[in-house]
């Protein structure tokens, strides 16, 4: 082998890279320029809407650490949209619902949201899940003027400043308001309790703590934080026990409710527990606990007896609730195999709200129209959630309140009526209103 041949080969090496670039680039260019179907007349932007369909997108963690539980929400959304489609759709338009997996990784959220907006050309993003994940795309959605409604996260970011994110709307009660409602209940009913906090180490835990401290700052004796997906939480719970906390408030996800209960059993620690709504899925946590030790924990749900929590939506154990009856019916008709879970109820309730908004926006659907109708009429929409939405030109925050409830035998028992409030120093008021009942066919009526 001579020197020249080797050089020749080397040359081919770098030339190969360029050739590959060229081929790849031309192949891509061959795909052509996606012509934007935007109709940007004075009537507004109706991307994703045809005479027979409306395309909606969302991102959820379908894989990875955050997938258990959360990956069920889009199944509920889809079941409800399919139900509506089977009953004629909205103004004769079928809802085409596209779900993308982001594995709870903001980088992936960013690329799949690009795909939804730029390639699939969705009309709106509905119910995209997660605080850090959605943070990554909220600016992009707003600068692209894509309605970004009912974000599945209780962060206040989605609605506290509509001038910053005019196209984004929250949906569930924000964590800060929830913290305030829990804090006030404790200050009123357990003023001598020594409170320990068990918090997820992120915006969820921090906002909850901020709300709680407005009312029970002096009662808090210990704060323990855990990182999701991390190691054993025994040391954290032991720290709460060491500070002699006799009331533990948890802003944590359901798996950590189960884990904290197990650790408490191990430590023989029996405080009063008060979990935030996110972590208190009695059905899920109960069944997890029940399975742990065949013969050791006879009835998992019973372990949660006396645990306090909050509720802004009915749950699957309330078989008498008309909304749960409706959702059971929808699930049977359009859902997938297996019993209805509270995650799917959450998704269906969001989907119901979205269909309400579409009905209110009228036949000539535009992106601007949807946002306008939510700001103007969103506050008067009633549905499965207990408290009114705060939607207006000044606030895009979702439902404003919740009930304090207690778990007993795997079922939810009401402790207080609906307490409503807002972020900051807004007062907490008891706002018992007639609870809404679903329309007979389960589909919000047209305007």
């Amino acid at each position: 082998m001579t020197r020249t041949t080797r050089r020749g080969h080397r040359l081919r090496g770098s030339a190969g890279a360029v050739a590959l670039l060229l081929v790849g680039a031309l192949a891509l260019a061959g795909c052509g320029r996606d012509q934007s179907s935007r109709d940007e007349g004075s009537a507004g932007d109706s991307t994703g809407v045809t005479d027979t369909s409306i395309k909606i997108g969302a991102t959820y963690p379908l894989t990875g650490v955050a997938a258990p539980g959360y990956s069920e929400i889009p199944k509920g959304v889809k079941a409800y949209f399919d139900y509506v489609n089977d009953h004629g759709g909205v103004y004769d338009r079928k809802i085409d619902y596209v779900v993308k997996d982001d594995a709870y990784n903001p980088t992936t959220t960013s690329s799949v949201t690009n795909e939804l907006v730029l390639k699939d050309q969705v009309f709106a993003v509905m119910g995209a899940l997660g605080t850090p994940t959605h943070e990554a795309v909220v600016d992009f959605l707003n600068s692209s003027k894509v309605p970004d409604v009912f974000v599945s996260s209780g962060s206040v970011t989605w609605g506290d400043d509509p001038t910053k994110h005019p196209w984004t709307f929250g949906w569930q009660t924000d964590y800060e308001s929830e913290g305030k409602i829990i804090g006030k209940w404790i200050a009123d009913n357990m003023p001598h309790a020594k409170v320990g906090l068990f918090l997820q180490n992120d915006d969820f835990g921090a906002s909850g703590e901020k709300g709680l401290r407005q009312y029970i700052d002096k009662q808090i004796v210990a704060v323990s934080k855990y990182t999701p997906g991390g190691t054993d939480v025994t040391p954290q719970i032991a720290a709460l026990k060491a500070k002699k906390a006799d009331l533990v408030v948890g802003f944590n996800v359901p798996s950590y409710t189960a884990l904290s209960q197990l650790v408490a059993m191990k430590l023989n620690y029996q405080p009063q527990w008060f979990y935030s709504n996110v972590g208190s899925d009695a059905t899920l946590v109960g069944s997890l606990l029940a399975n742990f030790s065949k013969g050791q924990v006879k009835n998992g749900a019973a372990l949660l007896n006396g645990v306090m929590t909050t509720a802004y939506l009915p749950t699957v154990d309330m078989t008498d609730d008309p909304w749960i009856q409706l959702f059971e019916k929808v699930w049977k008709a359009n859902g997938v195999k297996g019993p209805l879970s509270n995650y799917e109820v959450y998704g269906m309730a969001q989907a119901y709200t979205f269909v309400q908004a579409l009905q209110a926006a009228g036949k000539d659907l535009t992106r601007e129209g949807l946002v306008k109708v939510l700001e103007e009429q969103g506050g008067s929409l009633t549905g499965p959630v207990y408290a009114p939405y705060r939607f207006s030109a000044d606030s895009h925050l979702g439902t404003s309140g919740m009930k304090v409830v207690k778990l007993e035998g795997g079922k939810v028992q009401q402790v207080t009526g609906v307490e409503t409030t807002d972020i900051g120093d807004a007062a907490i008021t008891n706002a018992d209103q007639e609870e809404a009942t679903p329309p007979a066919d389960g589909i919000p009526p047209a305007k």
């Binding site: 080969h9 770098s14 670039l21 379908l62 960013s110 690009n114 943070e135 795309v137 992120d202």
Partner: protein, 345 residues
């Protein structure tokens, strides 16, 4: 003619000319792509830059790092920190360079420590690093904790828009701006890496990888050479991180899971260890494959959840198949085939 051939043989000239050619082609291509494709091209650019660096580290110097995601995080956070308020005090190029410099400083420290270690110990230490850096960011104040830092991509500079417009007749929108930047960074870094690989340093690395005892006897300093490879690969990772911050528009701890580091390794493997062309091919596969596989899965009747799991299955299988059937990688195997046909082997 002879003079041209002689000049052509100088690696810097050859790579520089090829790089310029690639640049011109890419400018035309990017200007013709839809915003979605441009966004994908930006993703491919940062994966390819990082994979190029890893190619030097793993393919040439024979060190396996399971923690290069951590260096991307350093680069991305540096850029995000400088860009979080929108208008940086200096041009974007400087932001990217600062990201590279800071990552290199971190990389040098880690590299010095890693050079003392052998195979699995380097892997263990870098794996711990991949977990520790995101946790440290979460813990540290001023870096936005779990939410991370928002990146505000600066407006497209007038001169840039004008230049591109004069070449292609197409305006530059914010998405394609990032793609242009990413590909310019990619081409510049590949030209530099290609030169390095053809230089004495590159030969030393290969010698060490193939037989460290013999190489040391021949006078190559093992430690210094390995640290240098580590530093070069982290410089690439820092640059990739800067492009990533611009493309993703956020730097958050959950954006840098251990999976990211493994993904980068698979990019290097898919194309073939030790070849930049391979790294480019691997990055392309990682960018375009998941979307294709997922939509294929959905249309084949799988549920969304199952379809989402399909992409990792496919690229894991490809990774194993490449190692089992074509250990030199796709590019390496093709090259071997070519050489065999020409009777060179």
């Amino acid at each position: 003619m002879a003079a041209i051939t002689r000049v052509w043989r100088i690696p810097l000239v050859r790579h520089g000319v090829l790089g310029l050619l690639a640049l011109v082609v890419m400018i035309f291509v990017l200007s013709q792509l839809s915003p979605f494709r441009n966004a994908q091209m930006a993703t491919m650019a940062y994966l390819a830059i990082a994979a190029g660096g890893l190619t030097v580290l793993t393919g040439l110097s024979g060190q396996l790092s399971l923690g290069h995601g951590a260096f991307l995080a350093v680069g991305a956070y540096t850029s995000a920190y400088l860009l979080k308020d929108g208008d940086p005090p200096f041009p974007l190029v400087v932001v990217m360079l600062v990201s590279v410099v800071i990552t290199v400083v971190v990389g040098a420290v880690v590299g010095v420590a890693a050079a003392r270690l052998k195979g699995p110990y380097v892997a263990g230490a870098t794996l711990a690093l991949a977990v520790a850096v995101p946790a440290l960011v979460r813990y540290a104040g001023g870096l936005g904790q779990e939410q991370g830092l928002h990146v505000v991509v600066p407006d497209v500079p007038r001169w840039f828009d004008d230049t591109i417009w004069q070449i292609t007749g197409v305006d530059v929108d914010p998405t394609s701006y990032v793609a242009y930047l990413g590909w310019i960074a990619l081409i510049v870094s590949y030209v530099l890496l290609a030169n390095l690989m053809r230089s004495r340093t590159g030969r030393n690395w290969r010698a060490l990888r193939d037989n460290d005892v013999a190489a040391e006897i021949a006078g190559i300093t093992l430690g210094r050479s390995r640290v240098l490879a580590f530093v070069v690969s982290t410089a690439a990772a820092g640059l990739a991180g800067a492009v990533m911050a611009l493309a993703v528009r956020v730097a958050a701890p959950s954006g840098f899971p251990v999976d990211l580091s493994l993904t980068l390794i698979s990019a290097v493997v898919l194309g073939g260890l030790g070849s930049l062309t391979g790294a480019l091919l691997g990055a392309a596969l990682l960018t375009f494959l998941p979307q294709a596989v997922t939509s294929w899965g959905t249309s084949a009747g799988l549920s969304d959840v199952q379809a989402a799991e399909l992409a990792p299955v496919v690229y894991g299988l490809i990774m194993m198949a490449v190692i089992l059937l074509a250990p030199a990688g796709v590019v390496g195997s093709l090259r071997q085939l070519w050489q065999r046909r020409r009777g060179l082997v």
